[in-house]
């Protein structure tokens, strides 16, 4: 368990000393969302209709943007090699790296989302639901993304490959999360969608560290 905390602290430390690595996707999140009112319409009714979708799609793309760096630096300087041959559990090390990734992208996105929601004229209830869906689903985005990132580690210019691998797996999350928010706008029950998001989270939490570990070992062969 000690290796988990050490890896988590190490990754956070490294990110804070090189802030552009995690600020870049967040900046993208804010800028991309703020462009939509300019391009489509500043009208409150239109924006509140498409707002949840915009926020969710942008959230996914900014997570995708940050995934390339998840293993890249450690691979380049040889630390990943040491992680793979470590007697400690590689899955646990990877879970720590995924946790750090979520703390640096998912969590800030959740914290920024009320602001973005207000900018797109979402009402207060929808903003709550938006935050709830983000809270349940952004960890899944990091977990599933780690599988893709570990498969492409070591391949040069693999950004497009990562999108092709990962985006299809993100689609169910996108569908359930946005439909929860639009249901909530009509005061309908959203428990079904939330159950699905929780199920996806639990499955990816159980599977992702192990699958990523196997993928990483294959990539380093």
């Amino acid at each position: 368990m000690k290796i988990y905390t050490k890896t988590l602290v190490r990754d956070l430390k490294m990110a804070l000393r090189n802030p552009s690595s995690f600020l870049n996707p967040l900046l993208f999140f804010v800028i991309a969302i703020s462009l939509f009112p300019l391009a489509i319409s500043p009208e409150a009714h239109t924006l509140s209709n498409i707002g949840p979708g915009i926020i969710w799609v942008t959230c996914m793309l900014s997570v995708l943007l940050s995934l390339n760096a998840l293993f890249h630096y450690d691979y380049d300087n040889g630390v990943l090699e040491q992680m793979v041959i470590s007697p400690s559990s590689l899955s646990l090390i990877l879970l720590a790296k995924i946790t750090a990734h979520w703390l640096l992208t998912g969590l800030p996105i959740i914290l920024l989302s009320p602001l973005m929601g207000m900018a797109l004229f979402l009402d207060i209830d929808s903003i709550y639901v938006l935050m709830l869906t983000l809270l349940l689903a952004t960890p899944s985005l990091s977990l599933i993304g780690a599988i893709g990132a570990s498969l492409i580690v070591g391949i040069k210019n693999s950004g497009m490959l990562l999108s092709l691998l990962i985006l299809p797996l993100y689609i169910p999350i996108l569908i359930f999360a946005t439909s929860a928010i639009s249901q909530a706008q009509f005061d309908l029950s959203i428990s079904g969608q939330l159950y699905f998001l929780v199920t996806i989270l639990l499955i990816s939490l159980m599977a992702s560290p192990f699958v990523s570990a196997i993928a990483l070992k294959i990539s380093l062969e």
Partner: protein
């Protein structure tokens, strides 16, 4: 007796066969130098023994534990071509993490270890600011702390100055006197005792 046994190993890279049916054993106290031309498979062999990759066929065991098992992995330390250090971290933090990965908690030893490799004043220096030789010394400090029985050193003398080379050779000799094993690749002449050579 605890012997490192390499049994019937074959390795292929692309369409080229690097080596096939390679078998040897190594007893405690022995040092094996893998020699061969560039591209003859020295690093590939070391990576297989380290448990990073697996060959086309064959296996590697130590004390009847196969490469890749937890017991085996805690007996080895692998020093590869890459520095294995993160530039954003201090020397101390890098050393700390590297030894933690090798299953050892080092808070107490860090000062001594850095002093031993001549980096006493670099404890809180970013690794990015170190020279290639100094980076190598940080990894060597980790090597000297861990209690790994098998040292796998890929070109360990690269970038080291003559003092560094001497002290590393002394450490290797000492490690093997205490019953350790060492496999290394190098293009330099070395005056290590009990040296066996494997030509690829």
């Amino acid at each position: 007796m605890s012997r490192l046994i390499v049994n019937d190993l074959s390795c292929q890279r692309g369409y080229t066969e690097l080596f096939s049916n390679l078998s040897f054993g190594l007893s405690p106290g022995e040092i094996l130098r893998i020699s061969g031309a560039n591209g003859s498979g020295k690093t590939s062999l070391l990576r297989i023994i380290a448990g990073i990759s697996s060959g086309e066929s064959g296996n590697v065991t130590f004390n009847n534990n196969a490469a890749g098992s937890i017991a085996y992995q805690s007996d080895i330390f692998y020093l590869g071509h890459l520095p294995a250090l993160s530039p954003e971290l201090y020397c101390k933090e890098n050393l700390d993490y590297l030894t933690q990965l090798n299953g050892i908690n080092t808070d107490r030893f860090v000062d001594d270890a850095l002093t031993n490799v001549g980096l006493k004043n670099y404890k809180y220096e970013y690794t990015a600011n170190l020279s290639a030789g100094q980076k190598r010394r940080v990894v060597l400090a980790a090597l000297f702390i861990t209690q790994a029985k098998i040292w796998l050193l890929d070109e360990p003398f690269t970038a080291l100055d003559s003092d560094g080379i001497n002290s590393l050779e002394n450490q290797i000799a000492k490690h093997c006197e205490n019953g350790g094993l060492c496999i290394l690749t190098t293009h330099q002449d070395s005056k290590l005792p009990n040296l066996r050579v494997l030509a690829l």
